[in-house]
């Protein structure tokens, strides 16, 4: 018996060792790519072009500061947006889009899950259809609609995010279904209105899951280049700005500035994820656990 256990633990160890080596190798590729970007940002442009994968001949850490003025894109006419402007655009697009989408998902799932009213089953069913049948090819019609109502190049485009359906609906629905209802009932007995109960009792209880969904949605909006590319050309966010700067480099290459922009654009996301990674990992669930 003891022998078998010992033998088994040796084989276990081998399996874990192999996995560890694969993990380390994979992590190294990611590390290498980012380290390369961080170092490349500290080179002179000619040094980068001549020795792309070597260490800098001379270090120029000030490139990171210079990027704030050098990294800029044209938004029509003589108007330019620099890195700081892109950062501000990223912030308002991300905050606005995230707040709208998560608020709508929360209010909608809350009443669908907790109140009985005609049509609630239809709403639940509609979400299933939206999730289960992604309609392809509606992009041209969407573009046409957005330009017809005059939302292109205006912050009003954020209203596109104010929908409650999709993965957020599923996650919030699962959450509200399992939420103890006694607190809310106690509030109703004390004479609180539905809105008061929702704001003062329910919303505080949703905070962990809402934070997790906000971070996930925030990251995806922060990194989204297609929506600004189509609808907010005059307000390029960091993702779109870096893309345009890179595309324009066919005419005038400045790789160190580009890489400095990469590193700067990634820092807010890393901080956000570092702060909330535990909240995300322990709160976001779909499909649940069988039991």
């Amino acid at each position: 018996m003891e022998r078998t256990l010992k033998k088994r633990s040796v084989s276990n160890r081998i399996v874990f060792m192999v996995a560890f080596v694969i993990f380390a190798a994979y992590a190294a590729t990611l590390f290498y790519a980012f380290l390369w970007a961080i170092i490349s940002a500290c080179k002179s442009n000619s040094d980068f072009v001549m020795h792309m994968f070597a260490m800098p001949e001379k270090w120029y850490p000030q490139n990171y500061l210079k990027a704030f003025t050098l990294l800029r894109v044209n938004i029509g006419g003589n108007q330019y947006v620099n890195l700081l402007g892109m950062l501000m655009n990223s912030v308002w697009i991300t905050v606005g889009g995230t707040v709208l989408s998560i608020t709508c998902a929360t209010t909608m799932t809350y009443v669908v899950c907790r109140y009985r009213f005609p049509g609630r089953k239809i709403i639940y069913f509609l979400n299933l259809i939206v999730m289960m049948l992604p309609i392809m090819g509606s992009l041209p019609a969407q573009y046409k609609f957005v330009s017809d109502i005059g939302f292109i190049n205006t912050p009003l485009i954020l209203l596109m995010y104010a929908g409650g359906f999709g993965l957020n609906f599923i996650v919030m629905y699962g959450f509200f279904k399992n939420l103890p209802w006694s607190y809310a009932e106690a509030c109703f007995i004390d004479g609180a209105s539905d809105l008061q109960t929702f704001i003062w009792v329910v919303v505080p209880m949703t905070m962990p899951i809402v934070t997790a969904l906000c971070v996930i949605s925030g990251i995806s909006i922060w990194n989204d280049y297609q929506t600004p590319m189509l609808y907010l050309k005059s307000f390029p966010n960091l993702a779109l700005g870096l893309y345009q700067f890179n595309s324009n480099m066919v005419y005038e290459a400045d790789y160190p500035t580009l890489f400095a922009g990469f590193v700067i654009s990634t820092i807010p996301i890393l901080i956000l994820f570092g702060l909330f990674s535990e909240t995300i990992m322990s709160n976001v669930t779909i499909g649940g656990l069988k039991g």
Partner: protein
């Protein structure tokens, strides 16, 4: 018996509650009506439209064109379909890898906290950043191209993103690189909710890592796995990668969804043909969705405990 005063009070509460419910639903429902119902309805109309002078006429021309494309074996359409299905197949192959990665992190492999953060980086860092890093590292001056040249003894340095023989594989490689640990938040999250007692009982019975994974963990996280598989299947014809950033669809790397995007972004047209292509493939998805749902929900029973 209820008094009139009580009845009026109840009615008042019901009206207030009705207003509350409407207030909570109004914005997301209006969004749904305009951005989903109206847009998709118009998309269906557009599929049957072609521009004529200043207006449009209704016709089957877009579909005729589509079927003509189907008739040509070397058409871009077939290439787009082939590439889309390759991306779809790859996402399936990556799923077991995701489960394995989540498992070893769940079992607290050495430095698991570190890996948990590092492996999530591709999901949180902009595709713009990742694609440009990837393209440079795979570029003609990069280490991979040089190694490739030596290994296969070539008399030229391969241009992975500028050569039709390699380009699609280089694009798929990007999805492998960034999707290696994809979904591990959801899968790892499901694993972390498995009660310790079950795993301990398995360990006492002498289960090896593979038996533990196959017989205990996978059945318990099955609802999450099937949800992910189903979502994968329903977006079968939308499968793809950041093609705009990698190749702009050149060198035979286009996909169906990229084709539709390019019609709006580059072609500058009205996108009626793209709407028809989208509609055709959405209809093709319906049996796939029904079948996937049937298999995921009926045929495979998860373990109860």
């Amino acid at each position: 018996m209820e008094s009139i005063a009580e009845k009026t009070k109840k009615k008042k509460i019901n009206i207030k509650r009705g207003i509350f419910i409407v207030g909570m639903l109004i914005v997301p429902l209006l969004n749904f009506i305009f951005f989903y119902v109206y847009v998709n309805f118009d998309s269906i109309l557009m599929a049957f439209q072609v521009r004529s002078g200043t207006g449009v006429i209704y016709t089957f021309d877009n579909f005729r064109l589509l079927f003509e494309e189907f008739g040509k074996s070397s058409s871009d359409l077939w290439m787009n379909i082939r590439n889309t299905l390759m991306y779809f197949a790859l996402s399936f192959l990556l799923m077991p890898i995701s489960i394995m990665v989540s498992y070893f992190i769940y079992k607290k492999i050495l430095f698991y906290r570190f890996y948990r953060i590092i492996f999530f980086l591709p999901s949180i860092i902009s595709a713009i950043v990742l694609t440009i890093l990837y393209k440079n590292i795979l570029g003609v001056y990069g280490p991979i191209a040089a190694a490739w040249k030596n290994i296969f003894n070539l008399n030229y340095t391969p241009e992975f993103f500028g050569d039709s023989r390699y380009a699609i594989w280089a694009c798929l490689g990007y999805n492998v690189w960034t999707g290696f640990a994809g979904n591990f938040i959801l899968i790892g999250g499901a694993m972390s909710r498995i009660p310790d007692s079950i795993i301990e009982a398995g360990a006492l019975d002498g289960s090896t890592p593979f038996i533990e994974l196959r017989k205990i963990i996978i059945p318990l996280i099955w609802p999450t796995v099937t949800t992910l598989i189903t979502l994968n299947f329903v977006s079968i014809f939308s499968a793809g990668g950041p093609i705009l950033l990698l190749t702009e669809g050149n060198y035979n790397t286009g996909t169906l969804s990229y084709f539709i995007f390019a019609q709006v972004y580059f072609a500058g047209g009205d996108g009626q043909y793209a709407s028809a292509v989208g509609m055709f493939f959405t209809i093709l998805t319906i049996p796939v969705v029904l079948l996937t749902n049937y298999v995921a929900n009926r045929k495979i029973e998860a373990v109860e405990y």
